[in-house]
Amino acid sequence: MNNKATKTNSHGFTVREDSSIGEKYFYTRHSSGLDIYVFPKKLTTYYAVLGTRYGSIHNRFRRDGDSEFIEVPDGIAHFLEHKMFDKGDGVDTFERFSKTGASANAFTSFNMTAYLYSCTSNFYDSLEILLDYVTKPYFTEQTVQKEQGIIAQEIRMGEDNPGRALLFGMLGAIYEKNSVRIDIAGTVDSIAKINADLLYRCYETFYNLGNMALCVCGDIECEKVLETADKILGTEPRRAFRVESVQEPEPRGVYKKRFTRHMQVAQPLFAIGFKDCDIPDDPKERMKRDQALGLISDMLFSKSGSFYNELYAEGLLNPDFGTWGGNEESYSFKSIDGESRDPEAVYRRLMEYIDRLHRDGLCREDFERFLRVAYSEYIKSFDSISEIAEKSLSDIMKGYDPFDWPEVIRSIDFDYVTKVFGQVFRDENAAMATVLPLDDKTKSES
């Protein structure tokens, strides 16, 4: 299916190649300590993303030399991301990018923060700006206050978003302790506790180059990327230190079976979460389990499967139905989301379906079909430079090699999938969040 070779080029980059699809990437650790990945792609656009292993879940941590763990307000990683764009010299970061014609953005997820841009020209000039602004923090009480107003509006917008209520309702039901249950943006109250000192503390801890990685994709030369890194980051190794981020131990099984909220929606929405309580320590094993969980959700809940089609025919499900998941070292889950006039009936049917599969076994033909789908999805992911760079960065942050997927897919057999299914898809690992229309509330109260 694919052949891979690893060799080193003249600039000290290691090359990894997947000849079956004609893709490769170059990797090096820059002398400053930053990991750099170059994905050559001859298209019109270029893309660069610089990420740090710091997300909303890292709210309790210490550095080498600290005796105590510090606990920081919820939403601070996201707040910090916003504040990185502000600079003391009066020049706004977006304005700098606009001079080179790049379109810049950033995002914060559970386990990482990423700064990115896309452009169709002046790639290396924009790369200078990216490496520069993310390595130069500037926080004052005044700029922090200004941001509190903006982010409060972002949070208020989220409060009206049924999808967000559903997501954190589901995570808050399956997780009791892990911070993945907390909204990435925090709350209006929690961000009010953020000040410049705390921001510097988080920055100094997590934004050290050894904790970060750069992925670039486009018609790019490795040598020029290195030159840019030398120019902005210097060639001296930065002080390396260890960051310890801890989560309170998470009990097995789910915290609550149900979460319900009434909002202005047309029809009930549901998210049924399954929590994986046996996360492997080894990244390669985690990658395999991650892929297996994806295969299982496809086998069980894809639109070509019997569960969806039966319930669709009965009018219990509509086309707004799908699965997704998230995982890293401390958490792993799959979610089955949709709209239904009767979410409890969907939940009941889903559990009966799973029971039946535990009894009668999974379908081998489905397994073969979704192996093919998984490999196809891997091929398809190489058509968009943003997807290549972002997906690869996300893999790298988890300790995965983005070119290992075909090998991982091949390593999975039916017995392994059956084993993982047996461990994860159980009643004690499942909970449901629902968002119900407001008029249901009136009805139930009257």
Binding site: I21, F94, T120, E147, K256, S304, N318, E339
Partner: protein
Amino acid sequence: MSITKLEVARGVTLNVMETDKFKTNYLSVNFLVPLREETASLNSLIPRVLSRGSEKYPTLELFNKRLDYLYSASFSESVMRRGENQMIEFAAQFVDNVYAFDDTDITGGVIEMLDQLIFHPLTKEGRFVSEYVESEKRNLIDSIKAQINNKRYYAIARCGEEMCRGENYRFSAEGTVEGVSAITPESLWAQYKHLLKNSRVEIFFSGRCDPEKLRGIFAYMFAGGMDSIPELKTEVIRTAGEVREVIEDQPVAQGKLSVGFRTGHVLSDGNYHIFALFNELYGGSPTSKLFTNVRERLSLCYYCSSRPEALKGVMIVASGIEVDKFEQTRDEIIAQLEGIKAGNFTDGELESAKNALINGYRAHNDSPAALDGWYLSRMLAGLSDSPDDAAAKVAGVTREQIIEAAGKVVLDTVYFLRGTLLPEGEDDAEGTEE
């Protein structure tokens, strides 16, 4: 990269972009008709019912299984508004045959499925299966009602509807609850047959192919072409009367402000890039007047941006704010427009806007779906220039041209979705856990 237009049959055009840049190919078949109240709901329901089953793939399950085998090909059916036209789109994205690890003909397979989907629906007694029609009516009604779930888009749609209340633009391409409820299997079948013979059809293919062979396949599919080709036009109004203010209360946390303008510019004018550049400067990017003032300087919101519609000549500025900041935000949005009319922008800001617009235009080249959208709008405006052609014209635009373009933009309607929920903690919005 250029696009080749091939006449397939009367009213049916094939647009081909031959390229080996991508691992996937993209194919869409688009039916275009005027957007009218009496047919909008019917046209909106048709692709949903078609997707339920065909002669060869009588169930959704069989259809989707076949897609899985075709290297996870993805199909989508959607209905959208283009100016005052309704477009029914069937689109597929699929891995090219060169990446198949067996002898599967993915492209051939996808075309065959598209043929089944559009031309060979499962029928009973010579028309659509009535239980499919009934269940898809329910799903479509649910989907129309669910527009309210996304307040941001709801407020934008409501503003457009209020602003164009006497124009065909007010109709939603999705149809209405009343319109869908009234549909019968007979009326739907009649409209389906009508659509197949009385639309303008644009087919778009990007990837590896033999264009002539492709044309032959579609010519066979569309045997004989259209009986009549509808005129696809959009009423353009370049002035506004007295400004209307519409306020609607809803139990939500954040207020949603949508400010609607008549832009005085449409694509068919031929110099739309000047207006597009004005828009970039005004509210199109993080360095725009709206972002840097309404958000960054005044901290009123998280988002504030302008979005024009190039065929209709309207523009809506959208923002999410605290309810008591309604007047202040509205006034600032208007003041920033007046500022540009008065030449209140630097050469640096203009340069930034040019860079952003050129970047945005050129980026179309990396997305077949974006190019499809680009050329469809151009076709409706009677144009055929490429994104690179448009990008090349941007650099030469002057300050004076921007001031002149801004001068044609007039305020029409202010719509405010007023949230009535108190901030969290002061009401019972919190979820309950059991």
